[in-house]
C-alpha cells in the first residue's frame, strides 16, 4: 500500500492547509536548530578555531580519530568473518539429522540470542583472567561479537536454507546426490542469494556493536575520542570536547550509512537478477529480530 491511498489528492483548501502545516513544521524544526545553535554559540562552541583542531595534524586529533576508526573497522572485520563462519557451522548443526548434534547446537544458539551482547563481552573479558588466562580487550570484543552474532547469523542461514522449495532437495536426492552434496551444491547457492541482504544488515549491526569496546576499554573510535577529550582537558579544559564528540559520531554515522546504502543497492541488484530462485518466493523477510545492541534491524532495507 502506498501512502497516497490514505488521502485524496489535496484540493486547493487542503493544499493551503498542508502549506500552512509545512511552514509551521519547518518553523518549529528551524526554531529547534536555532535554539541549539544559539546555545552552542553562547558557549563559544561554534568558533572556527575550535573546529579547526579536528583537521589540524599538529594537534594529532585527525591521527587519533583515524586510528580509532581503523581499530573499529579491524575489530568489526574480524568479527564479521568469524561470526559468518560460526553462523554457517551452527546453522548446519541445527539442521543436522543427528539429535546429539541438533540439541546442543540449538541450546547454544538460543542461549546467545537471549543474553545481552554486553554481558557476553564482559564474560569474555572477565572470565579467562579468573582462570589465569590473560585476554586483551581486543580479543574479548572479537569473541563476544563472534559468539553473539554467530548465533543470530545461524538463524538467518537456517531460514535461508529452509526457504528453498522442498522440490529442490527432493530432486537432488532423487538423482542420487548425498546429503553434503545437496547442501553445498543445491541448497546453499540458492539460499545465499536470498539471505544476503539480511546477512549484510546483520553485519552492519555488528559494526555498530563494536562501539561496545568503549565500555571495556578497547581503543576504538569512541574510546579514542573520549581519551582525546581527557587529554586536552589537562591543558585546555573542555574547549574541544564537543567538537571531538561530534566528529566521532559523524564518522560512525557516515560509515554505517555507506554500508546501509551498499546493502540496499545489493538488495535491488539481487531482486533484479534473473538467476535468483524467486518465482513464487521473494527475499527473506527482514525481521526486526536481528535488531540488537547496535540496533539496526533495517526492516525496510
Amino acid at each position: 500500500m502506498t501512502a497516497p491511498i490514505l488521502y485524496d489528492n489535496p484540493g486547493p483548501k487542503a493544499r493551503r492547509r498542508i502549506l500552512i502545516g509545512s511552514i509551521v513544521g519547518m518553523g518549529l524544526i528551524l526554531g529547534l536548530i536555532a535554539y541549539v545553535l544559539v546555545k552552542l554559540a553562547g558557549n563559544g562552541q561554534l568558533e572556527g578555531q575550535r573546529w579547526a583542531v579536528l583537521f589540524d595534524p599538529r594537534s594529532s586529533v585527525p591521527q587519533f580519530l583515524a586510528d580509532g576508526l581503523v581499530a573499529t573497522l579491524q575489530v568489526a572485520a574480524l568479527g564479521m568473518v568469524l561470526a559468518t563462519i560460526l553462523g554457517a557451522l551452527l546453522a548446519f548443526g541445527r539442521l543436522s539429522d543427528h539429535r546429539w548434534v541438533r540439541i546442543p547446537v540449538t541450546a547454544f544458539i538460543e542461549f546467545f540470542r537471549a543474553v545481552p551482547l554486553l554481558v557476553v563481552i564482559f564474560a569474555a573479558f572477565l572470565l579467562p583472567p579468573s582462570f589465569g588466562v590473560p585476554i586483551s580487550a581486543y580479543a574479548a570484543l572479537v569473541v563476544g561479537l563472534t559468539l553473539y552474532n554467530g548465533a543470530v547469523i545461524a538463524e538467518i542461514v537456517r531460514a535461508g536454507i529452509l526457504s528453498i522449495d522442498r522440490g529442490q532437495s527432493e530432486a537432488a536426492y532423487g538423482i542420487g546426490m548425498r546429503k553434503w552434496q545437496v547442501m553445498t551444491s543445491i541448497l546453499l547457492p540458492q539460499a545465499i542469494r536470498r539471505m544476503l541482504p539480511v546477512l549484510i544488515a546483520q553485519l552492519v549491526v555488528l559494526l555498530k556493536d563494536s562501539s561496545l569496546g568503549f565500555i571495556i576499554g578497547y581503543f576504538e573510535l569512541l574510546r579514542s575520542a573520549r581519551s582525546l577529550v581527557e587529554f586536552f582537558r589537562v591543558d585546555f579544559g573542555d574547549q574541544y570536547s564537543f567538537q571531538i564528540y561530534v566528529a566521532a559520531a559523524l564518522i560512525y554515522i557516515l560509515v554505517n550509512v555507506i554500508l546501509s546504502i551498499f546493502a540496499r543497492w545489493l538488495d535491488k541488484r539481487l531482486a533484479r537478477s534473473k538467476k535468483s530462485p524467486e518465482g513464487e518466493g521473494e527475499a527473506l523477510p527482514l525481521t526486526v529480530e536481528q535488531f540488537s545492541v547496535g540496533g539496526g534491524a533495517n526492516t525496510t532495507l
Binding site: 490514505l6 498542508i18 513544521g25 562501539s211 560512525y252 526486526v288 547496535g294 540496533g295 539496526g296
Partner: protein
C-alpha cells in the same frame, strides 16, 4: 549459590534498575514510534522528511554513541541530564526508530482495499488511520514489536557503561569485589535477564495467536 543469596539485595536492586529503564524507555519508544510512523505516511512533506531523517539517523548510530551524546554532549548546550533519565531517553529515542519501522511495515501490510474503503466512505486521513488502518496494523506488528521490546531489554545493558548500576554493571563490579565468584555472578545476571526476556517471549507468542487476523 550461597554467594548469590548473600548478595541478593544487590541483584534485586540491579534487576529493578534494568526493569525500570526498560519499562520507561519502552513506553517512550512506543509513543514516539507511533507518532513517527504516522508522520512517515502523512500528506505533509516536511513531516515525512523529518520522520525519515530521524529514523535513518538513529538506525545508523550505535546506541553507545546515542548514550555518549546524551550523557556527555547535552551538557554542552546547558542541559545536564542525570544518568537514569539519560538512559531512558537514550534507549527510548533509539528504540522509537525501530518501533516506527515495525509499525510502518504493519501499515504497509494492510491491504489497500481497507484504506480505499475508508476513504470512500468519507473518512479523513487521521480518521482512516485511527479507525481503520492502525487498529489492524497494531495486530500484525505484535510479533515485530515484541522482538523490538526483547532486544530493547537487552540493549538497556549499555547503560552499565554510563553510570547506571543495572544488571550488566554487576559483572565488573563483583568481578573486582569477589573475583572467585565470577561464574556465580555471571549465572545470576544471565538468569535475571532471562527472567525478563523469556516471559516476554511467551506473552508475545500468546498475543500473536490472539491478535492474528485470518485473511
Amino acid at each position: 549459590m550461597g554467594f548469590l543469596i548473600d548478595n541478593i539485595d544487590l541483584f534485586i536492586s540491579a534487576f529493578g534498575q534494568t526493569l525500570l529503564i526498560s519499562a520507561l524507555a519502552g513506553l517512550l519508544a512506543l509513543v514516539l514510534g507511533t507518532i513517527l510512523a504516522a508522520m512517515r505516511v502523512s500528506p505533509v512533506p516536511p513531516l515525512r522528511g523529518l520522520a525519515t531523517f530521524y529514523v535513518e539517523v538513529f538506525r545508523n548510530t550505535p546506541l553507545t554513541v546515542v548514550f555518549f551524546f546524551i550523557i556527555f554532549g547535552l551538557p554542552q548546550i546547558d542541559t545536564v541530564v542525570s544518568p537514569l533519565p539519560g538512559a531512558v531517553l537514550a534507549v527510548g529515542l533509539y528504540t522509537s526508530a525501530f518501533v516506527c519501522e515495525a509499525i510502518r511495515s504493519g501499515i504497509n501490510s494492510i491491504s489497500a482495499g481497507q484504506a480505499e474503503a475508508a476513504r470512500a466512505i468519507g473518512l479523513t486521513f487521521s480518521q482512516s488511520l485511527r479507525e481503520v488502518v492502525l487498529p489492524q496494523a497494531f495486530r500484525t506488528v505484535v510479533p515485530p514489536l515484541g522482538n523490538v521490546w526483547i532486544a530493547m531489554v537487552k540493549n538497556t545493558s549499555i547503560a552499565a557503561g554510563f553510570f547506571i548500576a543495572d544488571l550488566s554493571a554487576l559483572l565488573p563490579r563483583l568481578a573486582n569485589a569477589a573475583a572467585d565468584e565470577l561464574i556465580a555472578t555471571l549465572i545470576g545476571v544471565v538468569i535475571a535477564y532471562l527472567l525478563i526476556t523469556l516471559p516476554s517471549a511467551a506473552v508475545v507468542s500468546r498475543l500473536e495467536k490472539r491478535a492474528a487476523i485470518l485473511r
